[in-house]
């Protein structure tokens, strides 16, 4: 017999290294003789879309078509240290450094090109370059950003450990087979506040991927360690969701503007996976009246728990 349940879970997530750790990003932006803008920034795109975010922030700030902006993001000899692709910090921290660099060059661009229309033509940039040269303007500008956090006291916890915070809530519907313990996740609605969303379709991708990882965390994934040795080192025994396991996911954003973020943006990568697992676990309880306290909620655990509780 299959039973349906519905579950909710809300989470928050402080982005950045936090705890007063020097969380710095740098970027340079340069105009060249070929009529290109070179944006040089350490942004490791692990699949997240970080490169696109930097590109878009630069294009927006410079009012220059993004196809005229060339990105350099892969070589330590050609870019400054911007910290790691972690802690959901790239959009906020590194995005702010890109914004800063672009604002600096923009002041000088505005001296020569002060129109509302976006610059789409290489020729315009080549002419700008010539004017920069003849007026002895700097060609390359460095942007910098440092996040503001403070160290927490180890005895009291007092401090401002992270900034900014991203918020999210998930609602999950599951179907539990009471005779086998098998859980199918049917539907997930995910609503997030990650500030201004720089690229909605990429952000949605982060959320759906996060739901997938959260679902794995809730009902499938577990590294089995025996005497320090991992017993499931392959895809055949470390189980992650397939296309046939995924629920329908619907994503919404409420964009609570963060004034310190680039165009009001905050981080999203990690928050995207947080509320899904607890929402699924709560939905399982709602379906069968059994609350697991040891995870993941595999068919083994659910079925035995049902039996123990005499449900």
């Amino acid at each position: 017999m299959k039973k349906r349940g519905i579950g909710y879970a809300a989470t928050f997530y402080g982005t950045g290294y936090g705890n007063g750790f020097p969380d710095e990003s740098r970027a340079t932006v340069e105009i060249n003789a070929n009529g290109e803008i070179i944006l040089s920034v350490e942004v490791s795109d692990v699949g997240s879309g970080g490169i696109s975010v930097m590109w878009q922030i630069a294009s927006e700030t410079l009012n220059i078509d993004r196809n005229l902006i060339k990105l350099q993001y892969d070589n330590t000899s050609k870019m400054l240290d911007s910290g790691t692709a972690a802690a959901s910090r790239q959009t906020y921290n590194t995005g702010n450094a890109v914004l800063d660099a672009c604002k600096k060059i923009k002041i000088n661009i505005d001296k020569y090109y002060n129109k509302v229309e976006i610059i789409k033509n290489k020729k315009v940039l080549t002419e700008l370059y010539q004017k920069f040269i003849s007026d002895n303007q700097e060609l390359k500008y460095e942007g910098y950003f440092k996040a503001t956090t403070s160290q927490v006291d180890l005895e009291t916890g007092i401090g401002e450990p992270y900034w900014p915070y991203t918020f999210g809530i998930n609602r999950a519907i599951v179907e539990v087979d009471c005779e086998t313990g098998k859980v199918d996740v049917i539907d997930v609605v995910a609503v997030y506040d990650a500030g201004k969303i720089v690229n909605p379709v990429l952000a949605e991708g982060q959320i759906i991927g996060g739901v997938s990882m959260g679902m794995g965390y809730a009902i499938m994934e577990e590294v089995n360690v025996l005497k320090g040795s991992i017993k499931n080192c392959n895809y055949s025994d470390y189980i992650i969701p397939t296309s046939k396991d995924m629920p329908k996911v619907t994503t919404y954003f409420v964009e609570a503007n963060e004034a310190s973020g680039p165009y009001g943006a905050k981080g999203l990568g990690e928050p995207a996976m947080l509320p899904t697992a607890p929402a699924i676990l709560n939905a399982i309880y709602d379906a069968i009246g059994v609350r697991l306290t040891e995870f993941p909620a595999t068919c083994d655990r659910i079925l035995l728990e049902l039996k123990n509780k005499g449900v």
């Binding site: 005779e179 086998t180 313990g181 199918d184 396991d245 079925l303 035995l304």
Partner: protein
Amino acid sequence: MEVLDVLKPETLTEVKSLFTEYQNCKILAGGTDLLLDIKNGKQSPQYLIDLGNIKALKKIEKVRKDIVIGSMVSFKTLSEAKIIKQYFNSLYHSAKGMGSPQIRNLATIGGNIINGAPAADITPCLISLDATLVIESAEYERFISCEQYFIDYDKEKVRENEVLTKIIIPKKKRLTGFYKLGKRNSLAIARVNTAISIEVKQNKIKRFAVCLGAVGRYPFRVLELEKMVVGKSLDYLLADEVLEKLENAVFASIKTRKTMPFKKEAIKGVFKKALENAYGEVIL
């Protein structure tokens, strides 16, 4: 030891002559398991005989009162063949749910049987359907029931100079069903699976077969239960004492294993789902 050559015969006769020509051969029948075993050093043949080019082994045929399946029929072919779906619902479902599309294109029914994995999906079906395996060598041909093959595995398993060529399943009127409980919905290895076959006469069970997989070294039938239900109505299959027999069978098979408490509970649900599958998901 390294594999020196991969031989690619085009007829069964050629295969048999290769047995006499080459020593330390292994049959390549898909290879989803064999190639990994060789890579991991679990098997070290000197020659592989790739059966991929033998058309005669890729057919599914109606022969008198039987359906004869060539050992090199892929899971994809098996799951798409009308004749299989028509006569052996259980086999159709187990083939369709095995591995992934990529694996079903490559893996063959013969390879799966010979590999003898405890959690294989089609073996319980074949056993419950009274399938017979045809194993050939240069000198002889032997017929053995799939059930007996696994009961007497150490004695009966295919030897180095033998090749499994056909699987024969009697084409009888029966309700058959299969269910696999896996950890996910694709690329899943069975935690527990069950195949059943029911012959009904005048609303009573005339003959019943149930085979359980992934609850022992090899899939096995629960004979005591099969006898007990003969002459009863179909409803009886859901009786507590029936389910209890299943539970006991699983307990007896894997007493000391950590998964036993779960599997003896799960078998009841899996069995019910196999029944649902046999009845066409409508009756129950």
